[in-house]
Symmetry: C2
Subunit: 326 residues, 2 copies
């Protein structure tokens, strides 16, 4: 069924009753009009998901809706920002009413949960891709930046690593068991760590979200901060499902996997030792200390104290990309 | 030549020395940090251009760069907003250094001219498409909206109409004459009416930019304002090139053409009769009165006082679209 342009998003977005008081004018004019609260900086991120590159072609529209918002919410979390407004640019081969309904149901489930209002966007015909831009607020000067790691900081990650990357290996596998389903769910519907990001404003120095893999993203922190890091690979938090499935998967280098697989959308952050007790106030997600910031540039990995050279991979869309190349 | 991700845009953007004081943190972290001046509302628009849909596949990268920014600047103009920041999501089949350099040269020529800083974005691999989100400011309560047309208002347009639409008809035609080149230039590199939009804040009631064609866009104003309009088709401003080329083109209904062809990115606005003298202060573009707002809903067209029924076409990407179907 062919539907008409941005009207169809408006149609399905009517299931969202959300109407923020800082939205002066939402969807329906040449642009939206918005009011940023006094004392707040505006935080802006933008991410594009392309069919077959950022999600497998078999992905259901509900999950695409969720993920397109989740990856941007994850950027807000990494800045310590409170999300507020989103715009959506949706390019679709054809306007399929059922597809759109499921996509919107996914997108608005997450938007409503986090109090995010859709304020505008664009719908065009073409190969399937979704661009979301997210806007949030952070008190002026309090954002969590990449460049603020200091020598002696401890390096933490939230949740578990490698689940989404392992899920990609399982896609051809039709077996329906709870471990596989858990991992696929981690890939399709990441959990943005918004509440954690807000709490970390007063505890962490630097933060980033893990989209390209721990090594690549921690390296971003280190480069921006002019430092290096040591990582205890045996401390990496792994899910029960990951530990169970990795043994039966044809993974050449199991230890490298959670270091380099992307798409987990957990947070990686650094904390001064004196601020570690503040982490006790954060109880919505597990946090694991996996290493330490050092003076010497570069990343060094250790297993039981022995140096370990991981197989790096997949940091760049234009060289290789987990979803398309695995 | 294969280059790495958003780095290459950063590379080429380094030719832009623009560094706005309201950008706290630009490209290079999980999100940008921005400071909206007090008393200002934030104005946000987003437009996606897809290869073969919004620009012909033969379009040169410089023009794609210009146009992707121009269509969003045009939305700012239509709101009476001053543009400030842009984000860019670029999806490319391959990272071609020469293509990218020309694209950036086009995009930054316009960005620098209008004082717009690129604050972030995303680069992904996939079928060519460009999404730009523009952010601007307008003093609180002063934005030009679609819903503010009043019965008795005069309807104006800037510049000339139909040039871009006619250019699409000429694309197969390799003839190199000045009329053809003028029209192609109007299609490839529209002129956002920013200065006019700023001046119109104190003169106009409602405004919109003409992207889908005059009839479709004026109808948006009328529907949002709960009014109708009469249009004097013989008053439509036409360029010399348009008038010369339309006679040799196989256009079935020449009068309908400037009414319905899109992609002109001129402004259409309504003005109370007592505010018409204020338009004399605007001298950066020609403005032509083409009709009047009336109580009766719907649009009515006249040629020399006689009712005229235009051939409507091409308002919707999912039903038909000028660039792909003409």
């Amino acid at each position: 069924m062919v539907l008409s342009e941005f009207e169809l998003i408006r149609l399905f977005s009517s299931e969202s009753s959300l109407s923020r008081s800082d939205v002066v004018l939402g969807i329906g004019d040449d642009a939206a009009l918005l009011s940023v609260p006094g004392g707040m900086e505006l935080v802006v991120s933008m991410d594009t998901l392309v069919d077959g590159v950022h999600f497998p072609e078999s992905t259901d529209p509900f999950s695409i809706g969720v993920k397109s918002l989740a990856v941007n919410l994850s950027d807000m979390a990494a800045m310590g920002a409170e999300p507020a407004w989103a715009t959506l640019s949706l390019t679709l081969p054809e306007a399929d009413s059922e597809w759109m309904q499921e996509f919107c149901r996914g997108l608005f489930s997450l938007a409503n949960y986090f109090g995010v209002q859709l304020i505008g966007g664009d719908t065009t015909r073409g190969p399937l891709s979704v661009t979301v831009q997210m806007h949030g607020f952070v008190p002026a000067g309090q954002a969590l930046r990449r460049n603020a790691a200091r020598v002696g900081d401890l390096v933490y990650v939230t949740g578990t690593l490698g689940d989404a990357g392992l899920a990609l290996r399982l896609l051809g596998n039709e077996q329906n068991d709870k471990d596989r389903n858990y991992l696929i769910d981690r890939l399709a519907r990441p959990s943005p760590r918004i509440a954690t990001g807000l709490m970390l404003r007063s505890a962490a120095n630097a933060a980033i979200d893990i989209s390209d893999g721990l090594l690549a993203d921690l390296q971003h922190i280190c480069q921006a901060s002019g430092v290096g890091a040591a990582i205890n690979v045996d401390a990496l938090p792994l899910s029960t499902a990951f530990k169970s499935v990795i043994t039966v998967c044809d993974v050449i280098e199991p230890f490298s996997f959670p270091l380099s697989a992307g798409d987990d959308y957990e947070l990686c952050f650094t904390v001064s030792p004196e601020n570690v007790p503040k982490l006790n106030q954060i109880d919505d997600v597990a946090m694991t200390c996996i290493g330490k910031i050092e003076d010497e540039p570069g990343l060094r990995c250790f297993i039981k104290g022995e140096k370990f050279m991981p197989n790096k991979k997949g940091f760049d869309h234009f060289s290789e990309r987990a979803c398309s190349d695995d």
